[in-house]
């Protein structure tokens, strides 16, 4: 209890302190506050992972009733992820923001918003009162908005920020709807009322769940509710993109998991629904990621893909719960939760390295980059590790969670009926294609940005950021490798969160033994792989030391004097892919070809757009706009008219109930006749 108060006091004090600090100190103080809060909350989180549960009752107010704070293993797991990403992110941000030091007031707002976001996210994990939850949710949405629009002098940034703000408020509408429904029916704000209500009315439960699902799906970026995500991520500063992709969209996943725990419903149906949306998200995300030429936008679409993979885990887990298949449930939820951590790690690492690239070159358009590996070898290596991890390739962490997912799918295969077999078939097909497409995407991204020759001459020196800025990146890399090499340790940590889901229908089944045995073997395999690579590498070194090694220019079939323009660009690298997947993509080209003997200046530009965004966002908005434009005469710019509208509004608010009453009286009178 004291600790919770301390937590709130730290946030308030630092916020009040912020305007009085020097610019250089603002970041450091916020970082320290985040570290302090993170240690406080991690203490609880670690204890919950050991199997403890905490419950505090905050007195609250008349409006909100008592606010229960319940910390279980699920909150604990997500709190640890949030803390990890925030500590590394804010540390990285200290250095990333150095370039913006002149904008003092903006830095203050940014720092406060970051601290608030941390607090709000942790709050969402533990608060179990719908009123307080909504407030925390709103604080999160607003502070994230403030963080995204840091570079508000750019039109695109403001646009992306507003897009995010509007969409997150649409999600809040659904959230409020769900909470109000429960409150109306049960008269309680406590989350335990949701459980009580749905177990009495199982038929309505699914509708209530879908209401919450839409909320959290918008936050998580599940297709087709993903459209805010690819705009917001590139607009934000690098450390904010890392935090957004690492934890803000994960809070959507947390919400779905929390509601699955709270709402008692037909898990099988809901599992199939989640699985369907997830496979679509996964495929659609990666298909669009490939054609992006803005590095951060590419990463943003990959977040959608990875949310899809996490969702597949949740879907499989639900189906396991529904069909009383303990191993399936456990594999599905383990995959989902481990992948949540994994994605938070490698995606934030990718965004930070993209930030390094932006800092060094002032561009994240991949077509203008190239050959950075020689200028920034450490950044290149870190990006490479994260890229391999995100493709789900051993020996890194992405493979472990994808492996659990595959194991789940193949395990489900054994006792499935015809319908679920077809579902499994397409899920496996989807997952494999996601893996393959991710590989195409990241070989492109890494190859074009870091390898080959520079495609554009920069007039400033391109240099590696200082080691201390790379420190958090190395820390993340270390964890990425650790999960890849010792997966068993981390799956043990997940024991309690999984038991939350899987223990209810199956007490005392030691299903976790199943994945532990398999992961032990994987661990051996990965060690073997590392061993073989080292052995061959040493052999090669020994062989090369005996023979002559020369450095020459690239042979390329004796084509002398090549220019960097001859290299494959990102666009040409994916050309055949683009042709094959044309039906799913929306591309427009703007080009002028060579004509005549003395051709003038030619240009070629391709612009990509999101087909679903056009269908689900742009077209409806266009329709609404054309409808509303009929009423434009109301907005005529005369102040007198606006005051008149106000008066009409107030008068009608007062009069309508009165008239209605009179009307009822009149009806009664008629009936009496």
């Amino acid at each position: 209890m004291i600790l919770i108060k301390a937590f709130l006091i730290i946030i308030v004090c630092v916020m009040l302190l912020m305007p009085f600090l020097k610019v250089a100190w603002k970041g450091i103080v916020v970082f320290l506050a985040i570290v302090l809060n993170a240690t406080l909350t991690s203490y609880f989180a670690v204890l919950t992972l050991m199997g403890e549960k905490f419950e505090f009752m905050l007195p609250g107010s008349i409006v909100s009733d008592v606010i229960p704070i319940r910390i279980d293993a699920l909150s604990g797991w997500f709190m640890l992820i949030i803390n990890l990403v925030f500590i590394t992110g804010s540390f990285y941000g200290l250095f990333y923001m150095k370039a913006y030091r002149e904008q003092k007031s903006k830095i203050s707002v940014h720092a406060i918003a970051l601290l608030l976001l941390h607090g709000a996210l942790l709050g969402i994990c533990v608060i179990q009162n719908s009123f307080a939850f909504l407030i925390a949710w709103e604080i999160m949405a607003l502070s994230a908005f403030m963080l995204v629009i840091f570079e508000n002098e750019k039109m695109a940034t403001i646009k992306a920020g507003l897009n995010y703000l509007i969409q997150s408020h649409i999600s809040i509408v659904f959230l409020m709807l769900g909470f109000m429904w429960v409150r109306f029916k049960t008269g309680s704000y406590d989350f335990s009322a949701i459980t009580a209500y749905t177990s009495e009315n199982p038929k309505i439960a699914i509708l209530l769940f879908l209401c919450f699902f839409v909320t959290f799906a918008i936050k998580a970026g599940i297709v087709p509710m993903h459209t805010w995500l690819p705009h917001a991520h590139p607009a934000a500063p690098a450390h904010i993109s890392g935090i957004m992709s690492g934890v803000i969209i994960k809070i959507g996943i947390f919400g779905i998991l929390r509601m699955l725990l709270l709402i008692k419903l037909d898990y099988t149906t809901i599992g199939y629904i989640i699985l369907f949306f997830s496979v679509v998200s996964g495929l659609y995300g990666v298909m669009l990621a490939i054609i992006q030429h803005n590095l951060k936008k590419l990463l943003a679409y990959h977040s959608i893909e990875n949310i899809g993979i996490i969702g597949m885990g949740i879907g499989i887990g639900c189906i396991g719960l529904g069909s009383n298949n303990a191993i399936l449930a456990n594999l599905g939820f383990a995959a989902a939760m481990l992948h949540t951590l994994n994605h938070a790690l490698f995606k934030s690492l990718l965004f930070y390295t993209a930030g390094n690239v932006y800092q060094a070159t002032h561009t994240i358009d991949v077509e203008q980059l190239g050959g950075l590996v020689k200028k920034m070898p450490q950044t290149a290596l870190l990006f490479l590790i994260a890229a391999i991890a995100i493709c789900g390739i051993p020996p890194f962490n992405g493979f472990i969670s994808e492996f659990l997912l595959y194991t789940g799918l193949y395990h489900w295969l054994q006792d499935a009926n015809l319908f679920s077999l077809i579902v499994i078939g397409f899920s496996i097909l989807g997952l494999v294609l996601i893996g393959g497409l991710a590989m195409l995407c990241f070989t492109k991204a890494f190859g074009v940005v870091f390898l080959g020759n520079p495609r554009k001459e920069f007039h400033h020196e391109i240099k590696e950021p200082p080691f201390i800025q790379l420190l958090p990146l190395y820390l993340i890399t270390l964890i990425i490798i650790a999960i890849g090499v010792f997966p068993k340790l981390f799956i043990n940590l997940l024991l309690q969160p999984i038991l939350l889901f899987a223990s209810n229908p199956f007490p005392a089944t030691n299903t976790l033994q199943y994945n532990q045995d398999v992961l032990q073997q994987i661990s051996w395999g990965v060690w073997g792989l590392i061993g073989i690579i080292t052995l061959v590498f040493l052999l090669r070194k020994w062989a090369l030391s005996k023979s002559k090694v020369t450095i020459e220019s690239t042979w390329a079939c004796s084509y002398t004097a090549p220019t960097p323009k001859l290299q494959y660009t990102a666009n040409s690298f994916v050309r055949s892919y683009r042709k094959l997947f044309r039906p799913f993509l929306l591309l427009s080209k703007n080009k002028k070809e060579i004509h005549g003997i003395f051709p003038g200046k030619v240009h070629y530009k391709s612009v990509t757009y999101d087909k679903l965004e056009k269908w689900f966002v742009d077209s409806p908005i266009k329709a609404i706009k054309s409808l509303l434009s009929r009423f434009q005469f109301l907005q005529n710019g005369n102040l007198q008219f606006y005051i008149l509208y106000g008066i009409i509004f107030i008068v009608s608010i007062i009069c309508i109930p009165l008239i209605y009453e009179k009307f009822l009286g009149f009806i009664d009178f008629l009936k009496q006749l």
């Binding site: 789900g392 492996f403 054994q414 494999v432 051996w524 220019s553």
Partner: protein, 301 residues
Amino acid sequence: MLSFALIFIAGIFFSGIISRTKSIFSGRKGPGIMQPIKDIIRLFRKGAVYSQTSSFVFQIAPTIYFSSVVMAMLIVPFGQSKGLISFNGDFIFFAYVLALGKFFSIISALDTGSSFGGMGASREALYSMFAEPAFFILIGSLALLTGHSSFQEIFSALHLGSYITYALAILATFVLLMIAMIENSRMPIDDPKTHLELTMIHEVMILENSGFDLGLILSAGCLKFAIYGALIVNLFIGIFPYEYTIPLFFITQFLIAITIGTIESFMARFRMGHNAQFIFALTSVSLLIFFGALLILGKFI
């Protein structure tokens, strides 16, 4: 361990047999069966030339490519004898370890900064992506059929089924053979001997490699063939005793090598634009196997 040794031995002769078959069909005298291995040994002893554009990626990529193939070799079982590593879902590990090698070979091709490297890399990335679903669905249907989920258990249980399983095994052979061709960039997909770099996939990626590194890549290619050959053999041998299966292994590998040589002698390479469709069509053959497995299990009403 047995499978490791057998695959190694088969790998030594494999590409020699292919080129010998081709030379016989084209009426040439041709090189001896051991020639490819002699070439590789010669390369191991040679010095190397590195492009000044290239970075550490180019240096380590062949090592990782070769190591990934060796690792994959360790997973493949032989009849009842397990691979060195065997667990539920080991085929996933198998496919993803090979993907690690592919990832590195693709980025090392981009590392040289030549347009040829980019060309090969782009094609390899696309085609290998299309080939993977076929493999996963194939193994998935075999897993469904046998009720197991590791290579060794699947293969040893496969034999116990009815005669229809053999029909499925023949379809599976076709799929695996085609995957082997794609993985090794052989004829219907890619022509290793073409004189125009523009039409190559794999060969154009390794254009800049030399010396020890090239030796590693070439030997990994030989082993890869033998690995897929071993998977095909495994479809049929089941629980027969070793005195039959080991000769059968070599005979099958020999036949596969001759088949590949024959295909290369009499077929032209597909148009590059049609490759993707062809490779993805393999997935539908895999789906056919999947539905075959459903039929056998009586899951169709």
